[in-house]
């Protein structure tokens, strides 16, 4: 079977762009990706795209060209971007297509995401009495993790400081100013133990990636990172997820553990082989827990790793080199693809100001509601 490569990548900077709709930003990203690869929209054989709050992705077609291309809208919660990538990967892997695009964009209103109990299969009283908030879930998951594995509040702060430092070096990031540890720690508490600097915000942005078979890539005279492994997994019994009025007393693993293991197996690599990683940091605690869930350390090692700067630029395993969700915000449809975009930049040696030396394998993991995780492993 053919290998799948990412031969073009485009992004519309994340953050707030009042003069552009989500769709505008998605179209912008597609045009950037096409220009990056030197291709025309008419060359594209298939597209998978998604947006959670900014309309159907295939609304981009009249602007890009009504070429009759196969276009499938993807809607898979926070893993929408990761699911589009996986769908594109399979389309080429199957041999049916050899050149296509995956795109994601979004534009959310300010403040916490809206929650509808019935849409999540939950009783109304759960939302009515003030328990249906993603922020509460993240706070309670890290609170318990900190208690079990000896993680300090300072470590939560260090993750945020690193994010804003990396964001200050990244043209597509939203938050471009470094923030000091004291400011992060003394920020307004949102949901204890997490301050406002430790949470990402809903935002806007668009990302597009062009995928090609090995053969097509050579024909076109192009190059780009190879997709070594990609997997999406949903919550197994006993995992702790958003919007759960109750949990099993027998605890299980997180969906990230399943997706991560599947992607490593597919790629035939181990966590220790990874040179740079983008992992879901909805809030500081999520990055800490995901370090372990993705196999980069044992539970509790994060305390030392963050103190020693292991995951900072220049460390042994730089994590969230573009500032992650904390510095870029989280436009749901685009967020997972933003991680892959950043890895493409790192693996092609184009991450100016934040380049990881000798980056060979890039790992990305997006996680979110209603309890699913998507992992991709790219090779330079």
């Amino acid at each position: 079977m053919t290998d799948v490569h990412i031969i073009g990548a485009g992004i519309h900077a994340f953050g707030r762009t009042p003069e552009m709709s989500g769709l505008d930003q998605g179209v912008f990203a597609v045009r950037e990706a096409l220009a990056d690869a030197g291709l025309a929209w008419s060359d594209i054989q298939f597209a998978f795209g998604g947006s959670a709050a900014a309309g159907n992705a295939d609304a981009a077609l009249p602007r890009l060209g009504l070429t009759g291309v196969q276009f499938i809208n993807i809607s898979n919660g926070c893993a929408t971007g990761g699911s589009s990538l996986l769908s594109g990967y399979w389309a080429i892997k199957s041999g049916e297509f050899d050149l296509g695009i995956v795109l994601g964009f979004d534009k959310h209103p300010r403040g916490a995401f809206n929650a509808d109990p019935e849409a999540s299969g939950l009783p109304r009283w759960y939302g009515e009495t003030g328990m249906m908030l993603t922020t509460q879930f993240f706070a309670m998951k890290i609170r318990r993790y900190m208690d079990l594995y000896g993680i300090s509040d300072t470590s939560l702060g260090r993750v945020a400081v690193k994010a804003f430092e990396n964001g200050s070096r990244t043209p597509h990031a939203w938050r471009r100013e470094p923030v000091g540890l004291q400011v992060v720690m003394n920020g307004d508490m949102v949901s204890d133990p997490l301050t406002k600097y430790m949470f990402c915000s809903p935002a806007e942005g668009g990302v597009a990636l062009i995928l090609a078979s090995d053969k097509k890539m050579r024909e076109l005279g192009l190059s780009g990172p190879k997709v070594r492994g990609a997997a999406v997994r949903t919550r197994p019994r006993g995992s702790f997820e958003v919007f759960a009025p109750s949990l099993d007393v027998e605890r299980g693993v997180a969906p990230t553990v399943l997706a991560s293991n599947a992607a490593y197996e597919m790629a035939g690599v181990a966590p220790s082989d990874i040179s740079v990683a983008q992992i879901q940091d909805t809030e500081s605690g999520a990055e800490i827990m995901h370090m372990a869930e993705n196999g980069f350390c044992a539970d509790g090692d994060q305390e030392r790793m963050l103190a020693e700067g292991v995951t900072s630029l220049g460390g042994a395993l730089p994590i969230n080199t573009d500032g992650g969700c904390l510095a870029c915000g989280e436009p749901i449809g685009a967020s997972g693809l933003r991680q892959v975009y950043e890895n493409v930049q790192q693996l092609r040696g184009r991450a100016e100001g934040r380049q990881v030396d000798n980056a060979k394998l890039g790992y990305s993991q997006v996680y979110g509601a209603p309890g699913l995780s998507a992992v991709a492993i790219l090779e330079a």
Partner: protein, 135 residues
Amino acid sequence: MTVAVAEGLFVEKPDGPHLIGGRRKADGEMKFPMPTGPEAALYDPVELAAEGKLWSYTVQRFRPKTPPYIGADDDKTFKPFTVGYVEFPGQVICEGRILVEDSSILKIGLPMRVALETFPTSTRGEVTTYAFRPA
């Protein structure tokens, strides 16, 4: 006593209120609340223990969005409240509001009891909901 926020969430007994969960007939998996609608036929209702242990907690510092939140407060009058999970050993871990003056006294593992709380709403007047308090 005011009307309950929903039917079948809890029952009052001489030793205090108890939550009502559901045990799936097929495999014994327990849930709270007891499922309703067609799913209910697959579960037996189970009265949970009156006391459990704090599993995790946080403080809700901003007023949740309406909808779905129906608290009678507004952004100006909102007072932060504590929420958390309590593990009823051998049964299930349940989420609820926590009645505590000072959340800094909470610790994972702290014994907690089911309590009832009057919850003023903007749509239905005062309702009674379940909550937890340190035992």
